[in-house]
Symmetry: D2
Subunit: 335 residues, 4 copies
Amino acid sequence: MARYDFASDNVVGAMPEVMAALADANAGAVTGYGGDPVTARAADLVRQALDADCEVRFTASGTAANAFALATLAHPHEAVICHEHSHIATDEAGAPGFFSAGVGLIPLAGAAGRIDPRALAAVLAQPDVSYRQAPAVLSLTNATEFGAVYTEAELASLAGPATAAGLGLHLDGARLSNAVAAGFPLAAVKRLGIDVAVLGGTKAGSTPSEAVAFFDKGLARRLDARLKHAGQLVSKARFLAAPWIGMLETGAWTARAAHANAMARRLAGLMPFPLAHPVEANGVFVTMDDAALERLRVAGWFVYRFLDGSARFMCSWATTAEQVDELGAALKAIA
Amino acid sequence: MARYDFASDNVVGAMPEVMAALADANAGAVTGYGGDPVTARAADLVRQALDADCEVRFTASGTAANAFALATLAHPHEAVICHEHSHIATDEAGAPGFFSAGVGLIPLAGAAGRIDPRALAAVLAQPDVSYRQAPAVLSLTNATEFGAVYTEAELASLAGPATAAGLGLHLDGARLSNAVAAGFPLAAVKRLGIDVAVLGGTKAGSTPSEAVAFFDKGLARRLDARLKHAGQLVSKARFLAAPWIGMLETGAWTARAAHANAMARRLAGLMPFPLAHPVEANGVFVTMDDAALERLRVAGWFVYRFLDGSARFMCSWATTAEQVDELGAALKAIA
Amino acid sequence: MARYDFASDNVVGAMPEVMAALADANAGAVTGYGGDPVTARAADLVRQALDADCEVRFTASGTAANAFALATLAHPHEAVICHEHSHIATDEAGAPGFFSAGVGLIPLAGAAGRIDPRALAAVLAQPDVSYRQAPAVLSLTNATEFGAVYTEAELASLAGPATAAGLGLHLDGARLSNAVAAGFPLAAVKRLGIDVAVLGGTKAGSTPSEAVAFFDKGLARRLDARLKHAGQLVSKARFLAAPWIGMLETGAWTARAAHANAMARRLAGLMPFPLAHPVEANGVFVTMDDAALERLRVAGWFVYRFLDGSARFMCSWATTAEQVDELGAALKAIA
Amino acid sequence: MARYDFASDNVVGAMPEVMAALADANAGAVTGYGGDPVTARAADLVRQALDADCEVRFTASGTAANAFALATLAHPHEAVICHEHSHIATDEAGAPGFFSAGVGLIPLAGAAGRIDPRALAAVLAQPDVSYRQAPAVLSLTNATEFGAVYTEAELASLAGPATAAGLGLHLDGARLSNAVAAGFPLAAVKRLGIDVAVLGGTKAGSTPSEAVAFFDKGLARRLDARLKHAGQLVSKARFLAAPWIGMLETGAWTARAAHANAMARRLAGLMPFPLAHPVEANGVFVTMDDAALERLRVAGWFVYRFLDGSARFMCSWATTAEQVDELGAALKAIA
């Protein structure tokens, strides 16, 4: 059977801190739907990490978290500006449209998953017309789908014009821990004026859980009913919240992301194929033809050809130096 | 702080078999989104329990499971026949409408949460007209919201006319384990011609997970994309599936439901207030005025006044005889 | 073939003023989608009639007008309070749910189609909970579905508490012309704080056209795109607007409604069956058993048994005294 | 004020045959919602024109007609293959997503608005994956947005592979009359296996009305309720149907389209700017820089720069040779 170790950062299980927190949270009879002490404590930890007084909720799916967040920011007849290779545009089977009755996407180009500011400016300069879904939200992803990490200044150069044009701001932080480990300050989320941020738990090493932070509390009207209506509120809410206690209280969310990033750098150092993008977080993207990819698969390693045609190797909290070296040797053999 | 022990069957944590299965499932790197061996094994166990070759998926939310199931059975301009006090009608914040662009509900009366067959017949006799959402699905709940358990014959007397009228059949089995423990044969689900059945994990004693069985495979076209689109497909799918291995392989799903049912009977035996409904599963519903309910709360026990005005006491896998006796004494004191 | 003269006020064609206005509007090449001079003039006339600086749009369907209006006032996870026999609750096939991804309805009782203020107070007193769609809008209908006409004071006694509770206000004015002809001041719409009002054209005597007035311009963000997105913006918009020039400029909208109301009073005077509701607008509702209704149909006259079990006779701009007398004679014969 | 004569084929009013039919249809009291004799006769004429036993309905908006049709053919988690410059992709403000809870679009390239068969083949060859909306419908437009007319054989080369892959077929025939006038046989619609066809009335010279023909009657379950639910069923349905009597019974639908096509050819003959696309129907698309377009506007003629950057001149049933010659002279003057 093929080895999936580097196929994605979601192929591995949960880190020990998460499993321990789940076991801790399991005791006792508490009220449901997020009114319990475990959820309260996890939400406090998220607020503390973000240094912000925001509403925090937890969902089992990152796709749901993003789509739900966008639905609070855009009307159905409006659109979301995003990178053409963003997760919401390419990997969520149209979930933003489902959660908001047909909200549109305006995909923009840009190197390594960063949105090109000129492309954004061009869209913002377009007149509102009745036959087109005008942008209401700018969706940003950090780290990007191609393993790049925006600096705060880079994000500000996109967020600023968007905010000036009246748009809301969404942050897809499925790999925000990797960005933070790479130097992006978590407090920048508030400074940038993000309205809704999704903090990734799953890819960071949790059981299924994403934290959604609503900085604009005006969006949070009847938030729990909205989550319930959208099938995103569970009764035993503590099991979605507890992982965040495990990850944030111990610092593991960032520390293990730093490890994943380091493993990616190690892999990059061993890589015989040319890098397609700079290695700034936990992914290594290389130029590799079909024959080489096939040889790698025959050698037992499964990885995906990604959106831009590059081959993608993802490291996670669980990746070991031995795995990296083993893969490095396999790559060398088939290069 | 108030004791929530009897407030619901979802106020407690997960049974040991589930926690063990989660720990077991945590190892290794596997493909995501349900393509993994843990999910395959759990789905096989569900099929085996139902004695049916159905498609099986797992969701974190029972509300989502029900609403998603209904969306596969009804067009937006159609409606779902349900009990007026069913979960989909009273406790899901309109989720069926969200998942299917406005599908309607046709709530019917009936004792103890069972739909009155005459009420069903009256609805089925109505002509199709353009200004009304005609029924396309009959939704059944077993055990009912009031702790009653339909026999197979009782369900057949509802399912038969509905099927004859061309309707699909949905089973909300949030407490199906309690029904099974009370004598309802699981194989009856297939015999009744149910199209989509939701098997409750959460209330049975799992971390958040419900199993959805699609008996009509024609409904399952591109099922995973449909789940993804609706924010119901998670990458680390094994964590939603593993609990079912823990519950089904060991027999705990039924055995612990039998315990919960027994605790309800024990509580009924101690109950100084008149029963509002027969105690057939894990709930005890009693007639209790506001003053008495307030005294109980002052005494430290929180329970809900329920949809029909009765006070509801729910037992779970975790309820102990000591807890029941303690509550019994408290009830006696305030009666 | 059965005579439909009294089956509804939408069974007849358009009044001469409307047909003339359509012919007038037909000339020339103008820009589409409502940017044309005909639409501008019609919107001005609506604003003038309402004595309000509101945004005005025209739709072909009253159901669409209501559902669209409600979608601007309620989030999908919220609900609309309405009379249990209101058009949105009983005659629109769930359109409010479609236009707003599952918005709910909270139907209230009340005599002759008027909402009982005590029923409203009871709903407004309910706490917000996550599992229920809380009310975000109060929908009022004047004249009511049972031919009653709310006074401004009566509406204020409903609108006041709703507004105080933070709800928006929707007016279904499908028969607003009949209410105005019966003494309801059109300027009261603004005074009552209505957020979105639908002014009925079709039942007043137009070709298919309803005027929708958005008093709260904050709701009108990208209104034309929202209409387009919802399939409610037509290119040759002048044909939906022109009827309003014909009806408002001439005063025919009110004058012909006064005629319809007078015909209803005439019919009430001839009616051998007991009135089920006071005759305040253009409808006559009577208590009539199945055998009598069948005799009437055999005699050639088709009318509907209505929501509350009464038999409904509607008069329109086109109803003549001769028709009324003819029907009166038929009724006398079968009574 | 600018002259809009050539800005679109929807800037003019309705042809005399339509106005006469409306006047004819205005008499009498008939049942509503499409049960009337006028609607029945119009539907028969559409069936006769298509030589097919299909269900026929009429909507006021072409956008609604297309979006509604697509919603009957695709699930929300699926997608519609269309030309990148098709009306549904560029001019409907996301209506397909609204009518079907987020259905996606897969835009393909191709010269003059025709879909490139190789692009279609590439999409059909893609594997179904859970994270992407797979195609369920192929949407075809004839005449195309760029004034080209597909032959039956050309359409068959697209429809064949799509049908073989299990896709449904939608025809946007907003300008089908122009295609027919150019030689496309109307009976080909059935031969090609189209499931739902929209026949354009508005651009052909009607007041707002499109005919929607459902060839696959399985899609038509509770069709009127579905239309009502979506805000597309009007009570005085005869006013949407009557134009089709005027257009089809007299042959004006095709005859006046032939005139529009001829006017386009006349304009092409006078055109001093290079044609961007062949002139096969009623549009003339030319390469014209911003300065020239501005000079034309200064000279009093408003036309649009179109999706591919060309300048678009549309002729209609109402275009006169004098207008064409006048425009030709203006173009010559500014060229």
